[in-house]
Amino acid sequence: MLRITGGKVYDPANGINGEIRDLYVQDGRLAASGTGGRTIDATGMIIFPGGVDVHTHVAGGAMNFARAMTPEDHRRTKAFIRTKSRRSGLGGMAPTTFATGYLYAGMGFTTVNEAAVPVLSARHTHEELADIPIVDKSTLTLMANNEIMLNLLENGEYERAKNVMAWYLWAAKSYGVKAVNPGGVTAWKWGKDAKQLTDSIEGYSTLTPGHIITSLARMCDELQLPHPVHLHCNNLGAPGNISTTLATLEHLEGHRAHIAHSQYHAYGGDDWDTMRSNTAELAEYFNTHKNVTTDAGAVLFGDTVTITADGPWQHLLYKLTGRKWGNLDVENETGCGIVPYTYRRTNLVNAVQWAAGLELLLLIEDPWQVFLSTDHPNGGCFWRYPEIIELLMCADHRKECLKQLPDKIMSRIKLPEIDREYTLYDVATAMSAGPARALGLKNKGNLKVGCDADIVIYEEDDSVVQMFSHPRYVIKAGEVVIEDGDIRETPQGREYIVKPNHDPSTDEFIQPLFEDCYTMSFENYPVELERVEGADVRECGEGT
């Protein structure tokens, strides 16, 4: 039994807004009452459900490649020292696995969603996730550029494709569907891209990105997946891409969707010189359509490393900046591009990006629709989230930061006109309750009796950054894992997986297709359930 007494509780899932309440924890869950055990006196402190990062890149082939590319960052970052019970690690832009768990937990985040996993290397991702302590995890599997999927869609075999998608999700031991630059990553295998939804896709004759998007969104809903299609739109980063994004939303035809890092998809202008923020248009869409959620993908000034399956975009970034470039090709499925990058205040494009991320968080009215993220590490490192929280909560601070930006961009952004400030209730929604709900993780981001006891306790501080960077206590599944800045325990987290119902003949159907174009044996392709640490399987779909 763990009792937490006298704290100010923020539990948006249950409408609790700063009430002073006692919390009881038993066997890893919130309980109605209890006696004995340890008591934490949380008088004067603020209590949130544990943070949920809805879109981050922390494990797998792409992240591991980024680690290889940035030894200079590993050298200058914080280092966790080995102890009898705890492993060593390095933080920075591409943190090592053990350090990733410590850093997230140290900030009060207890669930992370690894947003991009190829089926072919899913085993690798799960092995890395097993080495990330404390936090619970889920993964999203890349689907929008798989040759087998695209072939079926081009031939109009929708039902087959849906069954194949379900089969893929279980083979990868995954939680949901990720679509990155649909058709564009396939085209990159020819050195090309697919930027508009009506573009043709190299290697295909009639298939378009628009068709892929509509199909995937529909499939996710029909399979009743807890999380809808998670979509990284075409034409990322390009001036004027707001039109592509709005067209993408139209193609959803009312199906649910989560738009990833929408900041990168909300630009107006015609070229780099005239690029501007068009977040108002995008926010308007979200404000009038409840079937979609998004995460901000906010940018913070400073060094980071960009990692994405959007291969063509990364090649462009390499040519523009001359920075290091890494490119991985994953046969038949996807790829990734990696470019270490620095966002600068003096760079007009970066300044617009910085404003745009905050604008989306402030202009989308319902905090249950827009979530805190930087698309770690693309826009900035996850351990800098408190800096974003400060910018959202303090309009004065925002205005001071705006003054440091080049005058030229003031007419291109909306941020100077925005006075809204996030309340603690809004923050708790955007960093915990909202993402948990969007992910369909009913026991997360929620302090109701029976829910998982993932709790973070902050000491009130005038400095928002200080408060959110250094929680006083972090509790995971009922165990105090962080106390007074020290890592006390490093339990193993769980991994959430879906098992969508599908036609049992799909196995037989896929095998010859697989053997025709892959270079491994079919029986080695699916990940064995035993290899997933702390697997928590959830069945879904018709008949469950």
């Binding site: 050298r75 102890t83 060593s88 690798h124 092995e127 490119n327 064995e528």
Partner: protein, 281 residues
């Protein structure tokens, strides 16, 4: 060779260029064989980097590498007009004079070729699960090899902490060799040092290293009698499904038991050490 959707004629739709210092059996399987002068790989690749950018290189400079202008012009043309190029490179490149710079040169050429067409490059790794060791080291420590943990956190410096250099300089006072045979491949000073210090070997076979070690423990061969995961050359993880049983313990079992024995001793870092530091050495 497999026919595919985009290359319906299989081998006939592909062009293979082999670059080596001498003609090997593989030359017969190739379409074009380029015999580069020994020790001129780095120069040849650097010339190609310049030629693809239409920079001027003289005939004489080209001929020093064993090539002619006609051959290189043809190669550059083929590279720029192909649909998907892939460069595989092995130890003949990465272990000759220039070492890592030879590999860097080829990878840079592949990166720069992407301005014209799709190009990738891949190192052909050594035997065993070298790729697996690299992959796991990277996710746990951030670095692929050449790592020291003496300060309680990983530090990386090839040449300072890489095995051959540590052994040649005699910078270590004990050695634990698992599934490798440095006694067969390393320079004499390294081998002499291994023989001098307490060396422990885990291997399914009695190797050259075993013969000069203090302790040899025979272990079950991975993939045949011991399970696990191996990472293929392209970093795809493959499950190992043992077909046989072995009377010997697996490497994993042995390492765990050694660790348990060590854990009964006092921990090597002092009690009051910090959990985390901001400034590494």
């Amino acid at each position: 060779m497999q026919k595919s959707k985009f290359l319906p004629k299989g081998r006939k739709d592909r062009t293979m260029v082999l670059v080596d210092i001498r003609e090997t059996k593989s030359a017969k399987a190739s379409d074009i064989f380029l015999q580069v002068k020994p020790g001129k790989d780095f120069e040849l690749i650097t010339i190609l980097r310049a030629l693809i950018k239409d920079q001027h290189i003289s005939d004489a400079q080209i001929e020093e590498t064993g090539m002619t202008r006609a051959v290189l012009d043809d190669l550059v043309h083929r590279m720029k007009s192909c649909k998907f190029g892939c460069m595989f490179f092995g130890m003949g490149l990465s272990m000759t004079r220039g070492k890592h710079m030879n590999s860097a040169a080829l990878l840079t050429l592949a990166a720069e070729m992407n301005a014209y067409t799709k190009f990738v490059a891949m190192p052909m790794r050594g035997h065993g699960n070298v790729t697996g060791a690299d992959v796991i080291m990277r996710w746990q420590t951030g670095y692929p090899f050449g790592i020291t943990f003496n300060r309680g956190y990983p530090r990386y410096n090839p040449g300072e902490f890489s095995t051959v250099d540590v052994l040649v300089r005699g910078d270590t006072d004990a050695a634990f060799i698992i599934g490798a045979d440095p006694g067969a491949t390393m320079p004499k000073p390294a081998i002499d040092h291994l023989a001098r210090i307490p060396t422990i070997v885990l291997d399914p076979h009695v190797t050259h290293t075993s013969k000069l070690a203090r302790v040899h423990i025979t272990t079950a061969p991975a993939g045949i009698a011991a399970p696990g995961t191996a990472y293929r050359m392209d970093e795809i993880p493959m499950p190992l499904k043992p077909a046989l049983k072995s009377p010997y313990p697996t490497d994993e079992e042995v390492v765990r038991r050694i660790r348990e024995a060590i854990e009964t001793k006092p921990f090597w870092m002092p009690e009051d050490s910090e959990q985390m530091i901001l400034a590494q050495v």
